[in-house]
């Protein structure tokens, strides 16, 4: 996004620890009220970036701007730090009651008793833990503890909320409920949020925009649609679940019919290719497994990309099955149980593969 009007912005941020460069972010801006998901594998620098944004970790270089004002370094950053709250993967609760934990940030700011009781009460309600108010934090379950931690962060009414994989350690059920309640609270308060996760589904649930980090560098920043459908490179593609990355050569076509990509002998109509690619460029064709449509062999071919293939393997994975089809090149499809049964998919059987041109995107091959 344009840095103009950004709530939070970094320029040339570099963080080093123990002589190792951990983070190098030339520019990143977050709009007021926006939720930005930081995704990337473990060790990609998500936590480090959040600490840099929090004003706690002192960068080796670069500047942090809050409402277009530079954030000072060291103890002068206190005023800024008090506009920001951060929640970690571990609840990190104090050895005190739930009430006292949620009140902690307010006490640090020297708020009066009435204010504290009111704000703590509201946040206990938001996170459905009002009944735990007087309980010792040590007796809480993982989900309850993380709810307390989130309530503690939101009690200070932060202008920026930084979340460092807050759901990673929770069981799926606690996680679902908590994401739901958090999303609701964020919508209600309009809190600008930066949310680190290695879980794509979580990122999609909460994010307006997604930033992909790898090796301390931003690989792509864009809307969820953009990042998931138009990955910037092979790393992003693989990370956001594009399991098929097939070498192709771009072939120009009449403007009316759009672009073509040559995959082996076949010519496929594609939706788009990365900027700067032209006819003759070699690239990687991105196909999400859930976009591969399978039908019975011999069915009438409609318009679009069709080709025959033979099933190489069917691996059930929860609700979907991962079907590998040999079409000259292996293509991975995600098929529902219904499709698997209907087509009686099994290794060796012939199928027809269809790909919607709009689902196909070509990135440069580096």
């Amino acid at each position: 996004m344009n840095a103009e009007g950004a709530l939070l912005e970094v320029r040339g941020l570099r963080i080093r620890r123990g002589g190792v460069d951990l983070l190098d972010i030339p520019a990143l801006a977050v709009a007021p009220g926006e939720t930005l998901s930081l995704i990337g594998p473990n060790g990609s620098g998500k936590s480090t970036l959040l600490l840099g944004l929090s004003g706690i970790e002192r960068p080796a270089a670069g500047e942090l701007f809050f409402r277009a004002q530079p954030v000072p370094a060291g103890s002068a950053a206190l005023e800024y730090r008090r506009r920001v709250a951060m929640v970690f993967q571990e609840p990190l609760l104090f050895d005190a009651t739930v009430f006292e934990n949620v009140a902690a940030g307010l006490r640090l700011r020297g708020l009066g008793k009435e204010q504290i009781v009111k704000r703590v009460g509201e946040n206990l309600e938001h996170f459905r833990i009002a009944h735990l108010c007087g309980r010792s934090a040590r007796t809480l379950s993982g989900g309850e503890a993380q709810r307390t931690s989130l309530a503690r962060a939101l009690a200070v009414a932060p202008e920026v909320l930084l979340l460092d994989e807050p759901f990673a350690a929770l069981d799926p059920q606690s996680r679902e409920g908590l994401i739901e309640d958090l999303a609701h609270t964020l919508r209600e308060t309009g809190t600008t949020t930066i949310f680190a996760t290695h879980d794509r589904a979580e990122a999609l649930r909460l994010a307006d925009r997604v930033a992909v980090l790898e090796g301390g560098r931003l690989r792509q920043v864009g809307s969820a649609e953009e990042v998931f459908r138009r990955p910037a490179d092979a790393f992003v593609a693989a990370f956001v679940g594009v399991e098929n990355l097939l070498p192709v050569t771009l072939r120009s076509a009449a403007p009316a019919t759009g672009m073509l990509a040559q995959l082996g002998e076949a010519l496929l109509e594609i939706g788009a290719a990365a900027a700067g690619m032209q006819s003759g460029s070699v690239g990687l064709l991105c196909i999400r497994p859930e976009d591969v449509v399978l039908s019975a062999s011999g069915t009438e071919a409609a318009a679009g990309n069709h080709f025959p293939g033979r099933v190489a393997s069917v691996i059930p994975q929860g609700l979907l099955s991962r079907v590998t089809i040999d079409c000259g090149v292996p293509i991975v499809a995600a098929a529902s149980g219904h499709v698997v049964r209907e087509l009686a998919l099994a290794a060796g059987c012939a199928v027809r593969v269809a790909l919607r041109p709009a689902d196909l995107y070509v990135i440069p091959r580096v």
Binding site: S75, L78, F88, F94, G105, T139
Partner: protein, 232 residues
């Protein structure tokens, strides 16, 4: 065995008979060791916290020195405090040798490394990210230290107990810098040594029993506080 029973009977006689000398000795023991423990708490908790929260060249050596200091032989402490307070010594002008103040100094020197070492361990056993979390809640550096100490309060009580236990039972340094002067610097341990030397076993046993009861009472109190806080 008779000797011991007789000593124990004597002890209760002395305690509940409100023997003035025994009470004075006991109270002085408490006062001196209590003061030394308080001083070592101020110094030791500060030093332990600083060591736990900072990184600087030579820190590891300093930590090893503190750990060594936890087992500092009281007679060595007694010797050096005596030298320092000796009439011609560096602090001789203060005229503190053979006063309760000298004993408090010596006992503080003994207890401080103990309290420092345990405080250091107490702060270090907190989750490393807790510091970041406290800062992320908007704490100043001092607020952070205060919250960390509050989080470590249970192991810090152990530091109090260890420090107090170390000095109330200590005799070598006390006798060297205090001199076991009747009515002035005679404490339970030095009196016990003296009475044993004289062959007054019954009184020595009585004094030992009082020392044990006193130590037990203080630790019982601290343990009550500590365990009341423990999770069920």
């Amino acid at each position: 065995m008779d000797l011991i029973w007789q000593g124990i009977r004597e002890a209760f006689g002395l305690i509940f008979g409100f023997d003035a000398e025994v009470w004075r000795i006991s109270l002085l023991s408490l006062r001196i060791s209590g003061s030394a423990t308080l001083i070592s708490l101020v110094l030791g908790v500060s030093a332990g916290t600083a060591l736990a929260l900072t990184r600087f060249p030579g820190r590891r050596i300093l930590v090893s020195l503190v750990n060594t200091g936890m087992g500092l032989p009281p007679v060595v402490v007694g010797l050096f405090v005596t030298i320092f307070l000796w009439r011609n010594g560096p602090l001789g002008v203060l005229g503190l040798l053979y006063t309760p103040a000298a004993m408090i100094i010596a006992q503080s020197v003994i207890a401080t490394p103990i309290v420092t070492g345990i405080s250091l361990a107490a702060i270090q056993q907190l989750p490393p990210k807790l510091r970041l979390q406290i800062l992320a809640l908007g704490a100043t550096r001092w607020q952070m230290v205060r919250l960390l100490l509050r989080e470590a309060r249970l192991p810090l009580l152990a530091a109090v107990m260890a420090g107090f236990g170390g000095v109330i039972s200590e005799v070598g340094a006390s006798i060297m810098v205090g001199g076991n002067v009747k009515g002035l610097t005679r404490v339970l341990t030095t009196a016990t040594v003296m009475e044993t030397g004289r062959g007054n076993f019954d009184i020595a046993i009585a004094l030992s029993v009082i020392l044990l009861l006193l130590t037990f009472a203080v630790n019982y109190l601290l343990t009550r506080i500590q365990q009341r806080e423990r999770p069920r």
